[in-house]
């Protein structure tokens, strides 16, 4: 369960202060698929950063499994991200010079998993996203869709509780985008992990169990189909 309570984030100081997030409150149940929907500049990315422990809003709480991650020390936040969070980005952010295998191995290296267990998990993750035959290829030689599959493999390899996807289909054509969406929702249902998609794409948002609309740093509307 993710509880966001009174999260407020301000950029700049005094007269120039810009309120990016203004008293955000909501609860996401475990295993749900959630879309955070808003125009660019609405604060949806900032909200994702706050929820994933990348950013520290000055006010509020983000309680994940009973722990307020905003109160954790940096070291503990780093470990929290490494163990419980998976990230998928619009521009993939795969390491072009590294092989697919080494790209996917990175979170496990950070998480101190080594040896046979690491290898097994990497191969499994590559199989789940269907690019196991590209294991030894450099990431730069993959197509856009394959790169995003690789990024998904990297996001799921450490078996996270929550996967954050920032415009995951934004850089893909509609056909490829559709398969990636299918893959993401399939994983969400199968593994029981929570999927948080940040998007401005209404069609993608419509496929989620819950939609949080953000406008000018405030919650505009929350639509939930979760029982």
């Amino acid at each position: 369960m993710i509880e966001v309570k009174g999260v407020t984030k301000t950029y700049g100081k005094k007269q120039n202060a810009f309120i990016a997030l203004d008293d955000i409150n909501f609860v996401i149940p475990d295993g749900a698929s959630v879309a955070i929907v808003g125009k660019s500049g609405s604060g949806k990315s900032t909200l994702m950063h706050a929820m994933s422990g990348l950013d520290r809003p000055e006010k509020g709480q983000v309680v994940i499994d009973g722990i307020d991650i905003l109160k954790l020390r940096q070291k503990a936040v780093d470990r929290f991200r490494s163990e419980k969070i998976g990230f998928i980005f619009q521009s993939f952010f795969v390491q072009a010079n590294e092989s697919s295998y080494d790209n996917v191995a990175l979170p496990l290296e950070i998480g101190n998993l080594s040896g046979r267990a690491r290898k097994k998990r990497v191969i499994e993750a590559l199989q789940v996203v269907g690019i196991e035959e590209k294991e030894k290829q450099k990431a730069r030689n993959l197509s856009g869709g394959q790169k995003q599959r690789l990024a998904i493999a990297r996001a799921i390899v450490n078996r996270p509780k929550i996967i954050f996807a920032d415009e995951p289909t934004g850089n893909l054509d509609s056909t490829t985008g559709a398969t990636i969406e299918k893959l993401l929702f399939g994983l969400n249902k199968k593994s029981g992990s929570t999927l948080v998609i940040v998007t401005h794409d209404e069609d993608l948002a419509a496929k989620c169990d819950m939609r949080i609309y953000i406008k000018d740093g405030k919650i505009d509307q929350i639509v939930s189909e979760v029982k």
């Binding site: 991200r81 952010f93 590294e98 080494d102 290296e109 950070i110």
Partner: protein, 452 residues
Amino acid sequence: MKTVDIIRRAGRSLKHAKARTILTSLAIAVGAFTLTIALAAGEGARQYANTLLTSNIDPQVLAIAKDKSFFEGGKTGPQEYSADSSTIARGNGVLVKRLSQSDIDAIAKRSDIVSVTPTYAINAQYITRVGQKKYTVDATTYDSGVTQTVIAGSLPSLRTSIADDQIALPEAYVSLLGFNNAKDAIGQTVTIHLERTPNVTESQIQQAIAENSPQAIASLATKQTKDAEYKIVAIVGKSATALTATTNAQISNTSAKALSDFTTTGTDNYQQYTIATASVKAGVDPATVKQALVNEGYGVQTAKDLQSLLFTIVNTLQGIVIGFGILALITSVFGIINTQYISVLERTREIGLMKALGMRGRHVSRLFQFEAAWIGFLGGVIGSIVAVIAGLSLNPWITSTLSLGDGNVLLIFQPIPIILLIIVLMLIAMLAGYFPARKAAKLDPIEALRTE
């Protein structure tokens, strides 16, 4: 994140920027090359100096002078005049106190000294043998503490002198004195001719005048001569590691004293010696004897002192070369800093991603420092390998050019200093990589990952 994984990732990212990596490490390689050569040359020079000393100088031997200023090059500048000119030798603005016979006798009486041999001044006119021309010659005391290269005949074992009627001649005299070869000369007799200006006392002159004998007066004015005959016991050659060139005819201590006394009789130089060598009893540390003699006011140098003097020279020269190596290293440090800064800028997103995935700032910093260490390692290995290859292939040429003698090489490469050098270079490179690494560690992942 495990260090092993960080090192592997660091190695891989260097591999992906091959040209940059190699160029940066070449800068370190220049320093590594210079330092490897300096270390090898220093070691070689020290070993060579050691070879020289051990083959030339008996470790039990002391060099003794009247006071310590002798070993500091004598007293320079104006000194207070002393009428007792016999104890002082002056020349070229340098003043040296001399040892008298009583000094020699006093030192010889010590229980820890086996023998004392002053350096005798022998002004021999010429050397010759029956039916041959006369040749100039320098006669010196046979040094029983030095191993010499014997071409023909034989010399007694170390610390034993030749007999009083024997002479050891350098190779050059073999043909000059009309011998077919060195072997023929052994056992043959040669003559050393000495002269001294007459030394006339007042009473002798008065007696000659009283006798009114022109012959007596003439004989007083005639130069006095002495012909000393010796049997050739050995012909000695020149060795590459000999410090003292054996161009002197060598005679026994007693003979040398007799000849020296003859030529100096009646002069200020009579039984005055600038320096003496003493042989310390076996089992006694020359340093303790030295201290005892120094306390008595003498200037004393042991074989070890001479060694440390030579080593000081070698170390100074080595220090200069090392200085240049360090300069090259300092230059390369800026190269590393620059390269790593660019690398951090280029890989902003990669760093952001790693941090987003939960990699600790400390580990990000380490990643870049290990990259720098790899560069240092590569530079060190390249530099030292090139230095070893170049040194080993140049060694024969250096040996023959400097005529160091067979078996002696100037550049001696030892694995441990080279390994230490590479480790030090890696540490220096890591230090250089510290600032860029810190920049990487401090990167805000949100900023780094912001999509434009």
